[in-house]
């Protein structure tokens, strides 16, 4: 079956080949494992971009294939980041605390150690108590489980309530925006237990690898991100091919018709919504150790809207389109907003891209939607059609 799936979807093989080639090139040019032509910070940027590509294909499955315009998938991404961030922060702080207490003649009690760690982590929000949600923070395994379970359960409950009531279209989009906004506002509070607007920081320091240079850590995370994107791509390509793909595309094009064919549409939507939320959580868990910091601003409503813009520009309803859109627009975005693009002096006015990038992005979004509804990915149709 696996063989027939790949032979019917040659674009999957092409994508994996391209991703493999790209990964090999970056590895050979990086500081840690190669010629050193690519700086460690740029390796991190590329690694983060791969994670954004992963959430973009999840978004494409839920929106481009199933027709659910979720404007809240970045919430799941953020939850994944927080879940792994809790372990990273806890374990690293524990290491520092134990080291500083090691010189004492009387060995510290477990309570003293716990208080000292709590003080380190929560001192910034005027607390030293560990909130309930940190109960598993000392276990990497349990926090990795949280990366998958928390976004999955949230999506399951939210989706069940929304789809059961047959909330669709723009109303559903607004609900998902409300979800991510509510989560973001909650996390901004100091007593949310996740350090309020400070967020979690120092995530680039991996406990147990204090002696390992960042250049090596960066390339390892880059490779893991690439593997995750490749696996996620094959997984989603498998979901959207075959009969499952037929049904979810049918739901996108005519929900009522699918219902009268005897399919329980709500179960399918819930399945797609939840599975994409889980993958988004995994993408977030890989992204934030490379970013080094996560705060509630990351899951502001605008982040999820950007996600939809990437997918629209890249081309909805084709997985490689989402990858192209996410990579192209997010890299361009950091180039423009990072001061990479030269300002344009018009004499009477100077266009500074840090301010004008959003205008350019907005105009491109409108232009793509109106003129090229298939997005950048649509160009491939012309290439394929030209061949005899």
């Amino acid at each position: 079956m696996r063989k027939s799936f790949l032979s019917e979807n040659p674009s999957v093989l092409w994508f994996i080949a391209a991703l493999g080639l790209f990964t090999l090139m970056v590895t050979l040019l990086s500081e840690a494992t190669g010629a050193g032509l690519i700086s460690t910070s740029f390796v991190k940027t590329l690694g983060k971009t791969l994670c954004l590509c992963l959430i973009a294909i999840a978004m494409d499955v839920v929106w481009g294939y199933c027709g659910i315009l979720s404007l809240g998938h970045f919430a799941f991404f953020g939850i994944g980041g927080y879940a792994i961030g809790m372990w990273l922060m806890y374990a690293r702080t524990e290491g520092i605390v134990l080291e500083s207490l090691a010189g004492q003649t009387i060995p510290p009690t477990p309570q003293e150690i716990s208080d000292a760690i709590g003080n380190q982590i929560f001192g910034v929000v005027g607390s030293s108590e560990f909130p309930m949600i940190w109960a598993f923070a000392d276990s990497l395994f349990l926090q990795l489980l949280m990366v998958v379970l928390v976004p999955g359960l949230l999506a399951l409950v939210f989706g069940w309530l929304a789809f059961r009531s047959r909330v669709t279209g723009v109303y559903l989009s607004i609900l998902t925006q409300a979800m991510t906004l509510a989560l973001s506002l909650y996390l901004f509070q100091n007593d949310s237990g996740l350090r309020g607007n400070n967020g979690l920081s120092g995530l680039q320091n991996i406990p147990g690898f204090e002696g390992t240079p960042q250049s090596t850590i960066a390339i390892v995370f880059f490779l893991i991100s690439a593997a995750a994107l490749g696996a996620g791509y094959v997984f989603f390509a498998w979901i959207v091919s075959g009969k499952m793909g037929s049904v979810i595309k049918g739901i996108r094009d005519n929900e009522a018709r699918v219902r009268f064919l005897g399919y329980h549409v709500e179960s399918y939507k819930l399945f797609v919504f939840t599975i994409t939320a889980v993958i988004s959580g995994i993408a977030g868990a890989l992204y934030y150790p490379q970013a080094g910091i996560i705060n509630p601003g990351e899951i502001a409503p605008i982040a999820s809207i950007y996600l939809a813009v990437w997918v629209a520009i890249g081309g909805r309803g084709r997985l490689y389109g989402a990858v192209i859109g996410a990579a192209f627009v997010s890299l361009l975005s950091s180039w423009f907003t990072g001061g990479g693009a030269p300002d344009i002096n018009l004499g009477f006015y100077t266009i500074q891209w840090t301010d004008w990038w959003l205008v350019l992005l907005g105009v491109s979004f409108v232009a793509v939607t109106l003129l090229f509804p298939k997005g950048i990915g649509g160009l491939f149709d012309y290439l394929v059609r030209k061949q005899p």
């Binding site: 075959g242 499952m244 037929s246 049918g250 329980h264």
Partner: protein, 249 residues
């Protein structure tokens, strides 16, 4: 012989307007029936009630040998019970090929996990080809449904109904927008289907109903006005007054 579907004493109102008024109508397991009536007679609402889209205010809808009530079941459950519905406007999945459209409709487990792990089998393939042959689309299996002509789309949708293998087919205006030859072919398909199952055709076009040559039920203001063969009902004075008379006026 017990009835396949018994609708008794069903009423439904929308904002005070009684779309269906104490309607009672029965269908045998294998019959072809035409339902006619002027606009607003409640033909579409009747189909909405049977397929679970609309919940009636009162009355009973009893289905099958076990006499189960269809009220309170969801659209997809009713479809799985064996009631297929064709909409007035052809609604096929235009992005997908004829084969994919038929495969989706083919009677198989409908749960997400069964569908996810679904494997193509020779048996299913043969069923799809048999249905495609029946509706005259055997040569078009790999074409996207969006490329088909209007008549072909109507047939594809009828084929999707057949693939569901329902015991009752509700068909809303199958001949709308068809040429004369296409109508003849549609009549043949429906009559063959009615040999093994109940087929209910809602139609405006008297000529098409005459060609179906079957029992006719006339609806008016949400209830049955007359029932019998076409000549019988068209000679009924009440029918002439409310329907034929008005349309010829």
């Amino acid at each position: 012989m017990s009835m396949l579907l018994e609708v008794s004493g069903v009423s439904v109102s929308f904002d005070g307007f009684r779309a269906i008024n104490n309607l009672s109508i029965n269908f045998a397991p294998a019959e072809l029936r035409a339902i006619i009536g002027p606009n607003g007679a409640g033909k579409t609402t009747f189909m909405d009630i049977v397929t679970g889209k609309t919940k009636p205010d009162e009355g009973h809808v009893i289905w099958g040998d076990k006499n189960i009530s269809l009220l309170g079941m969801s659209e997809s459950q009713i479809a799985r019970e064996g009631i297929g519905r064709k909409f007035q406007k052809p609604t096929v999945f235009e992005d997908q090929t004829v084969r994919q459209n038929l495969a989706m409709a083919l009677k198989n487990p409908r749960g997400p996990f069964a569908v996810l792990t679904h494997k193509k089998t020779a048996k299913n393939g043969a069923r799809i080809e048999a249905i495609a042959d029946e509706i005259g689309l055997l040569d078009s299996l790999t074409r996207p449904a969006g490329e088909l002509s209007h008549g072909q789309k109507q047939w594809l949708e009828i084929g999707m109904l057949l693939a569901q293998d329902p015991r009752l087919l509700l068909v809303d205006e199958p001949a709308a927008g068809m040429t004369v030859e296409e109508r003849e072919k549609t009549t043949d398909i429906l009559r063959r289907a009615a040999e093994t199952r109940a087929v209910v055709v809602v139609e405006h076009d008297m000529e098409f109903v005459r060609r179906l040559n079957c029992k006719v039920t006339v609806l008016h203001e949400g209830s049955v006005l007359a029932e019998g063969n076409l000549d019988h009902v068209t000679s009924n004075q009440q029918v002439i007054d409310v329907y034929l008379g008005r349309s010829h006026a």
